[in-house]
């Protein structure tokens, strides 16, 4: 199920720990969806001098965090902000489909830490993550991860954290913001 690289990072994760005097801290996830990641960064001359993380979660979540920390260390803030979850998955030799979104939050956590640093540096109040809304649904399958969607997940897949919109043409669900419907190919905005 997991690539050798994922298992290697799970078995020997890099940069695990807490930075006592971190310049920025970022946290994503919660125990309801199964994964929580906390990233700590130390910044010097616009570069990530040190990166540490702690993760509560599955093998993929731990491997992803480890990979992100390795990719980010030594990078400028701009370069680190350009690291995407997809790039991380690619570096790991791919992730199982149903883990692509739920456990692949490492880059998000890193970006939160960087924003936290920038907020503090610029004297802004630290922001809070917007709560995810759950909605009613007739019960179908997420088109991105095959997760069986329960009633409360009409326009949000809890597994892959993707928000959906209904296609005005065919009624199928597609990621919010996409131009074309995943199912019928017609434009999402009528």
């Amino acid at each position: 199920m997991y690539s050798d690289k994922v298992m290697e990072h799970f078995a020997n994760p890099r940069n695990v720990g807490v930075l006592a005097n971190a310049d920025g801290v970022g946290q994503v996830g919660n125990p309801v969806c199964g994964d929580m990641m906390t990233f700590y960064i130390k910044v010097k001359d616009d570069r990530l001098e040190d990166v540490k993380f702690q993760t509560f979660g599955c093998g993929a979540a731990i491997a992803v965090s480890s990979m992100v920390s390795e990719m980010a260390k030594g990078k400028t803030l701009g370069e680190a902000m350009a690291i995407t979850n997809d790039l991380v998955a690619e570096e790991l030799g791919g992730l199982p489909k149903n883990k692509m979104h739920c456990s692949n939050l490492g880059a998000d956590a890193l970006h939160e830490a960087i924003k936290n640093f920038q907020d503090k540096r610029d004297g802004r109040a630290p922001r809070e993550a917007a709560p995810m809304e759950l909605h009613e649904h007739e019960g179908s399958v997420c088109p991105y991860c095959d997760n069986a969607l329960q009633e409360e997940e009409k326009i949000f897949c809890r597994a892959c954290r993707v928000e959906f919109e209904e296609c005005p043409s065919c009624g199928g669900i597609t990621k919010k913001g996409d131009e074309k419907c995943l199912h019928c190919g017609k434009p999402m905005k009528g």
Binding site: N30, V32, G34, F56, K99, C102, N147, A159
Partner: protein, 393 residues
Amino acid sequence: MRRRYFDRIAATPLHPEVLEVMRSALGDVTGNPQSLHAEGRRALDAVEAAREEVAGLVGAQSSEIYFTSSGTEANNFAVKGLALGQQARGRHIVVSAIEHSSVLNSVKALAKQGFSSTIVPVDRSGRVDPADVEKALTKETVLVSVMTANSEVGTVQPVAAIAAVCRARGVLVHTDAVAAAGSIPLDVKTLGVDALSLAGDQFYGPKGSAALFVRNGVRILPLIDGGIQEGGRRGGTENVAGIAGMGRAARLAQQEMGARTAALVPLRDRLLEELPGRVGHVIVTGSRTERLPYHASFCIEFVEGEGMLLSLDMKGVAVSSGSACTSKALKASHVLLAMGLDHATAQGSLVFSLIDGTSVEDVDYVLDVFPPAIERLRGMSPLYTQYLKERGS
């Protein structure tokens, strides 16, 4: 590395005798059981001999056993077939909150056909109170389905008491005995149930072999329409080798149940008693007294189940977990949540289910490799760091 298998609830290995029976059924049995010639009669003999053996395991008559492809199919057949068969009398179903998804989702499917349902809660140990079932019954209730034992927490339900309550009200009772059949003595007459599901791969038979007991005289509609197989109640050419294997496995389970239980219970108890103290912050899930003989289950705080599963796998130990991450649906176990555990704790679910031949050394090996694995994962866990910080302040 030597493997140690503690995941019986997923599937048992084949008993060598079962393998022999199946080899012979696959190699030497040419005919279709429904054909009248000698080849067909030979196949039918194999199926009917197995039906006797499976019936014997649960105290049923052979005419009351219907072979299916899985425990899931047996549960679908029971819930949908019985409910639809009685719908002229009413359209309300009662199930417990910790049923297998094949029961819960069958009830959901029936809701689309106009059935309503009541879900009965469980206590902290995962037990259903027969009084709660009684309270849930209405004039419209036609079926109650409560499992015999839960595979995730090992708790055995008071099925006979629940069935007595239902019988007094003329309501049919189904019990999903997949986790229990072959491991604890079950008699459909003593239990007083109208239907019971069991699966061969839970007692050293093959995967893809299962059956539903339906008491003679009870109306059930088929799930799979087809020919006259299984008395017209389950169409499709019989899985002769699978059925033959399940039959032998059922006979062996009946003969050896006492010895198997005597060997497994002390090992189970060693795990239940020793493991919590080795790592701390461990909750034993399920009932201590009303428990499957092969089953030890826990929630390990501050860590997530899949990480534990993979860590133990790397040490040669196979276990399972009910955490969101290990399930394809990526949801925390509905069983643990129904028992009142919070999401974070439920994510630390770990189930050790023992097979025959497991030794004290195997259990001690687990007790030795477990603490460093947990220590490593807790070292990475933000929840554990937070706990230590709060405790320190």
